[in-house]
């Protein structure tokens, strides 16, 4: 009996000590925990493109100019800028009192070094403008001269990959530098596990007065959707970077949780391999576009959070003609008539490729399959695991695929250069589509200064693409961020990154 009591007491004591420990450790100041699906693996801004790294890099490095929630670009590290009338000379004046997070001053030489390293490295997001020279005119003034006018250049500069770092990596080696990156951004890397969580602390030298209001920012890796929203429900995390459409309404209606939505620069799109014997025929492409009910698709899959897309240019970007372009919409009779004009009036068999494990893509593909069946095109689903899928479509080894087109920076050219230029490395988003008139318009758009003329060029280009349908835009996805109700001031930008500088917890 005594023995039993002793054992029982021991167990109770052990249990008590276990329960006591979690509460004992609390950090000083306000900590904000952000749940994300992937870890941050690198801070080398010139070598990265994927969102998991980009949205950490932009907390440390900042560019000369930056876009706001509406995609409008304004001065950021630059206090002011001028662009010459011929579009060749860009002059930037830096803000006063700018400092890196190690306390050193930011000079024009640092800007020159940063942009020149990007030009040397090239990387996955190379600067497209043809730069003749970058000169530091004085401590605070940078002059960039182009060989040829390139209107999108100003937007390119707003990209995270054109952030500013100290000249010569502040005297460190590249490897050392990117392990403990030094930039002007609101946060400083404190603890970093490339395969796990990342902790930032606030930059004491930050140039925006009184910001950031939080002391610590944690990027917590949670791979499972349900786990992430359940941690949000109990308050283990303060926000979740991306919610599924399926969970959005539920989180929005939760008593302690809300959602923040923002129109993105992405387009969910169906792509045709125009080298495929069937889809080389424009009538076949048009027939499928006419058989597809895009309205119902967008409603059923995004629960109203996505907007039907008529143009390849996202509605959030300037010059998007989604409301005015004449796009092919559901009309079964017209679809059948269109197919009858093609080389395959009796229909045919083909495949649609998607990455497996993506529920929304799967449903999209099933709707496309049903649309095909309605006009006599038999489409088989080819769901491959992500890496295999990528290998296939990059080798143009597919017939139809569904993918997301992404504008890297807020300029129409970011979409068109990728999707219309047959000489670009992506061969028109791996469709191998060639249309000389479209190419000429795309090139004209690059050198025409912003204004009505550029708007007219892009309106014509979007109509050609809508008639020729090398790809069918399906819908413009929304960015959905889940957030605890006690959080205020979290700003989500249209590229999907979050601005934490104004965050306060009530």
């Amino acid at each position: 009996m005594k023995k039993k009591i002793i054992i029982f007491t021991l167990i109770a004591a052990l249990a008590a000590s276990l329960l006591a420990i979690p509460g004992a450790l609390a950090e000083d100041g306000v900590t904000f925990v952000y749940a994300r699906a992937d870890s941050v693996t690198s801070f080398d801004l010139h070598q990265e493109i994927t969102a998991n790294n980009a949205f950490a890099i932009d907390k440390v490095f900042e560019p000369l100019v930056l876009f706001d929630t509406e995609g409008v670009i304004t001065d950021y590290l630059a206090a002011s800028h001028t662009i010459s009338e011929d579009g060749l000379v860009y002059t930037f004046t830096l803000r006063d009192g700018l400092r890196f997070n190690d306390g050193s001053d930011v000079t024009a030489e640092d800007v020159k070094f940063s942009l020149e390293r990007h030009m040397a490295v090239q990387g996955p997001l190379p600067i497209q403008a043809d730069i003749a020279s970058i000169e530091a005119a004085d401590e605070k003034t940078v002059v960039i001269t182009l060989n040829a006018a390139y209107t999108p250049f100003f937007s390119e500069l707003a990209n995270f990959s054109n952030g500013i770092l100290p000249r010569d990596f502040g005297g460190k080696t590249e490897e050392e530098f990117f392990k403990n990156p030094v930039g002007t951004g609101p946060f400083v890397v404190s603890q970093w596990d490339p395969a796990g969580d990342l902790t930032f602390v606030k930059n004491e030298y930050y140039w925006q007065e009184g910001k950031p209001a939080i002391d610590t920012l944690v990027y917590k890796v949670i791979g499972d959707d349900n786990q992430a929203i359940n941690q949000l429900r109990v308050g283990d995390v303060d926000a979740v970077e991306s919610l599924t459409y399926a969970n959005a309404a539920e989180i929005d209606n939760g008593s302690e949780t809300d959602i923040i939505t923002r129109g993105s620069w992405n387009v969910e799109e169906l792509f045709f391999n125009t080298l495929d014997e069937h889809f080389a025929d424009v009538h076949v492409r048009r027939a499928l576009a006419l058989a597809l009910n895009r309205e119902a698709l967008a409603q059923a899959l995004t629960f109203g959070y996505g907007e039907v897309a008529n143009s390849v240019l996202p509605a959030t970007l300037r010059y998007s003609a989604t409301d005015t372009v004449d796009a092919l919409s559901l009309d079964l009779d017209a679809a059948k008539a269109e197919l009858a004009q093609s080389a395959f009036p009796e229909g045919f068999s083909t495949t649609i490729s998607i990455p497996s494990g993506n529920n929304v893509r799967m449903q999209e593909a099933l709707i496309v399959i049903a649309a095909g069946a309605s006009i006599g095109i038999d489409i088989q689903l080819d769901a491959k695991e992500a890496a295999a899928f990528r290998q296939d479509f990059r080798n143009l080894n597919y017939a139809i695929m569904i993918n997301t087109a992404i504008a890297d920076f807020p300029d129409a050219d970011s979409i068109f250069a990728f999707q219309v230029d047959p000489e670009g490395f992506s061969q028109c988003f791996w469709t191998s589509y060639v249309n000389d008139e479209a190419v000429a318009l795309m090139k004209a758009g690059q050198v025409t200064l912003d204004g009505d003329e550029r708007a007219d060029i892009y309106a014509r280009l979007q109509q050609i693409l809508a008639d020729d349908v090398p790809y069918i835009p399906l819908y413009y996805p929304s960015i959905l961020v889940g957030v605890r109700s006690d959080v205020e001031g979290l700003v989500i930008l249209p590229n999907g990154t979050a601005d934490f500088t104004g965050v306060v917890k009530k």
Partner: protein, 272 residues
């Protein structure tokens, strides 16, 4: 009194299990007659309808009738379960018995093979096969051919090895029976009950693996209806549209119960 009761109870358990299984098989076979809707037919204006009315099990995200999908899925899953288990079961038993019976280098070689496969991270194999063959049924068959036999081989070898030195086997040898005869007539009946019990649980386990592959995004390919993929797809709707994953989940559980009753019943009958 108890002695008399046992075989009857075994028969009863077996009977219930078989009846449950037969109902499931009948539903699967008669699906085209019973169902009002085509399991693939979409209605994008009637998505996520709760159970009731025209759709007794509700509709899914594409407005497809869940009742039809669940019944048609039974066809897919029962077929996979049966086909994917036959080869590994026979191979495993055979290898395990000869290993346990002969001992020596035969046993050594078989255990080397089982040990290698067992020490091979299970999911590495499953995922790699699924990645290589593309998501779908083929991957499941191939994976099971590769790894399914291990369990049976281990069970059969263990059981055989512990019988190897037993007196009645010794005397069977002394009486001049051939190895073949000893293996099939003496050992096999002794190993079988244990193996069949394992088979029944393993079949239920196979269903769970199919579901898990669905969770990892490499399960049975749509549009073929399958419980595993349905459960996995429904997981984001657990709190908003429970029927998407709960109903196929109940089918998996029901089948699992039927299988384990069959296993138990057989085991009890063979015991006597």
């Amino acid at each position: 009194m108890r002695q008399l009761k046992r075989p009857r109870r075994g028969a009863l358990t077996l009977g219930v299990g078989l009846a449950m299984m037969l109902v499931m098989i009948a539903l699967a076979l008669l699906a085209p007659v019973i169902c009002r809707f085509d399991p693939l037919e979409q209605d994008l204006y009637a998505f996520l309808r709760p159970p009731g009315g025209l759709h007794p099990f509700g509709t899914d995200q594409l407005g497809r009738d869940m009742f039809s999908r669940v019944l048609y899925a039974a066809r897919t899953d029962l077929r996979i379960m049966a086909l994917a288990e036959i080869a590994p079961f026979l191979t495993g038993l055979f290898l395990g018995m000869i290993a346990g019976y002969y001992g020596g280098w035969v046993e050594w070689a078989v255990t080397l093979a089982t040990d290698t496969f067992i020490a091979f991270p299970y999911y590495l194999l499953v995922i790699v096969v699924a990645f290589a063959t593309g998501a779908g049924v083929h991957g499941i068959y191939i994976t099971f051919m590769l790894v399914g036999w291990l369990l049976y081989a281990r069970v059969a070898r263990g059981a055989t090895a512990s019988l190897r030195e037993s007196e009645w086997l010794q005397s069977a040898r002394l009486m001049g029976y051939s190895d073949w005869r000893i293996i099939w007539r003496e050992l096999f009946p002794n190993v079988l009950p244990q193996a069949v019990v394992v088979l029944m649980t393993d079949m239920a386990g196979l269903l769970v693996i199919i579901v898990t592959l669905g969770y990892l995004g490499i399960g049975v390919t749509q549009p073929t209806p399958d419980w595993g993929t349905m459960i996995a797809e429904g997981q984001n709707f657990m709190t908003t549209a429970w029927w998407l994953s709960v109903i196929p989940g109940l089918m998996v559980v029901y089948t699992g119960i039927a299988l384990s009753f069959i296993g138990d019943g057989l085991a009890e009958i063979w015991e006597n």
